[in-house]
Each structure stands twice: as structure tokens, then as C-alpha cells.
């Protein structure tokens, strides 16, 4: 079964610098959607990559593409701007070097809200305007389906504030 909180707790305990993006980020902002994986963009600073590798070891992370081969990510994979589609003991985790048109952690962190969870964690979550920008840039079928939900949630949030 999925346990997004447990993945976030392990990342936080290893002091990994990341931004939460994708479907879980959208839901945390109030979007009534669903998803089956957790997407993060990691800082690619070498010290952070070391901390991320420790966290991924604790999570038993392997690449989803051929789970039977149990391929594990290494520092080189995580330092690139590519997408690492992993499977952990708590569910799928996508570790994304960049999203949209090359947006990396050091840019995205400027477009985040710090959202508190009730277990004491505070998570940097990509804000709705930037999530919309990224989806518009990518404009795949899945992204186009999500865009109306993101836009109407942003409108409703602004209306209520």
C-alpha cells in the first residue's frame, strides 16, 4: 500500500533539500485529484545528493523500469537533470532533476509554500501558479487534463483569501 507520509518523513529525517511537485503537491494545495506516485525535484548539490542517497537506501529504492533487476540509483544518476522513476517500500517515488522547460530546485524553491503536516514536518510544496506554468510548458495529454483543476483551485483559493 502507498504511504506518502512515510516517504516524506524519511526524506525530511535525512535533511534532503527537495521541492514537492506533481499530483501530491496539487492535492496539498486543495486540488481534488488523485495520484499513485510522489514527485520531488531534488537539489543537485553534492552534499544533498549524499543525503538523498542515504534516504533512498532506507526506502529500498530501485528503478521501476525493471524491478526484477533491482537497479539502484547512484550519485551520477541523481546529479543529472533526468527523471529517476523509482519504487520504494512505501510506493512509487519520482526523483526529477528538472521539470517543465528545465526548472531545477534552485529556481523552484522560490515558488514554494511551506506547508505543515500534523507529524511536525514542514514540506516545501510548489505553488499553484508555478504548477500551472510547468503543466502549460509540458502540455502532454495528462497535463492538459489536470490544468482546469489547477486553474479553478487557484481561482477558488484567491476568491476565499
Amino acid at each position: 500500500m502507498l504511504n506518502f507520509e512515510a516517504i516524506l518523513e524519511v526524506l525530511a529525517r535525512h535533511r534532503v533539500d527537495f521541492v514537492l511537485v506533481g499530483g501530491v503537491a496539487a492535492v496539498l494545495h486543495g486540488v481534488p485529484g488523485t495520484t499513485f506516485d510522489l514527485d520531488i525535484v531534488q537539489s543537485r548539490d553534492p552534499a544533498n545528493i549524499d543525503r538523498l542517497l542515504s534516504a533512498l537506501r532506507e526506502l529500498d529504492a530501485i528503478y521501476r523500469i525493471q524491478p526484477s533487476r533491482r537497479l539502484v540509483p547512484n550519485a551520477s544518476h541523481l546529479t543529472s537533470g533526468g527523471h529517476n522513476l523509482l519504487l520504494t517500500k512505501f510506493g512509487p517515488l519520482d526523483v526529477l532533476g528538472t521539470i517543465g522547460h528545465g526548472h531545477a530546485w534552485n529556481e523552484l524553491i522560490e515558488h514554494c509554500n511551506s506547508l505543515p503536516l500534523d507529524n511536525g514536518l514542514t514540506i516545501a510544496v510548489l505553488n499553484l501558479p508555478m504548477q500551472i506554468t510547468v503543466k502549460e510548458e509540458v502540455a502532454g495529454e495528462k497535463d492538459n487534463i489536470m490544468l482546469p483543476l489547477l486553474r479553478r483551485t487557484l481561482e477558488e483559493t484567491n476568491r476565499q483569501s
Partner: protein, 57 residues
């Protein structure tokens, strides 16, 4: 069947592009932690249902 109750302040149930605004308003009443719990429960419910499907269904 009784008609749906009228909405206050001219609020609509759906946006022009078909988004259910009542679900958004409900989600916005929850804390981030509660929203995460809703998501996790939804996803796990779907996974449990899928696991119960007969092969080939």
C-alpha cells in the same frame, strides 16, 4: 427527485470547463495533512479494489 438546493451568493457547482467546484471548496476546508490523508486513502482504496478484480476483468 428533489432539485439540488440553491447556492448562496450565486455560487456555481461546476465551472464552465466542467470542474466540480464543490469538491475544490470541500478540499479547501481541510488542512494540508487532512488533504494528504484523503489522497492516500483514495489511492489505497483504488489499489485494494484493483487487487480484488478477477483476472482478465
Amino acid at each position: 427527485m428533489a432539485p439540488a438546493p440553491a447556492l448562496e451568493n450565486g455560487e456555481r457547482e461546476y465551472s464552465e470547463d466542467g470542474v466540480d467546484l464543490t469538491l475544490i471548496r470541500w478540499m479547501l476546508t481541510l488542512t494540508p495533512a487532512q488533504r494528504l490523508q484523503v489522497l492516500q486513502n483514495n489511492a489505497n482504496s483504488v489499489l485494494r479494489l484493483r487487487a480484488r478484480l478477477q483476472p482478465g476483468a
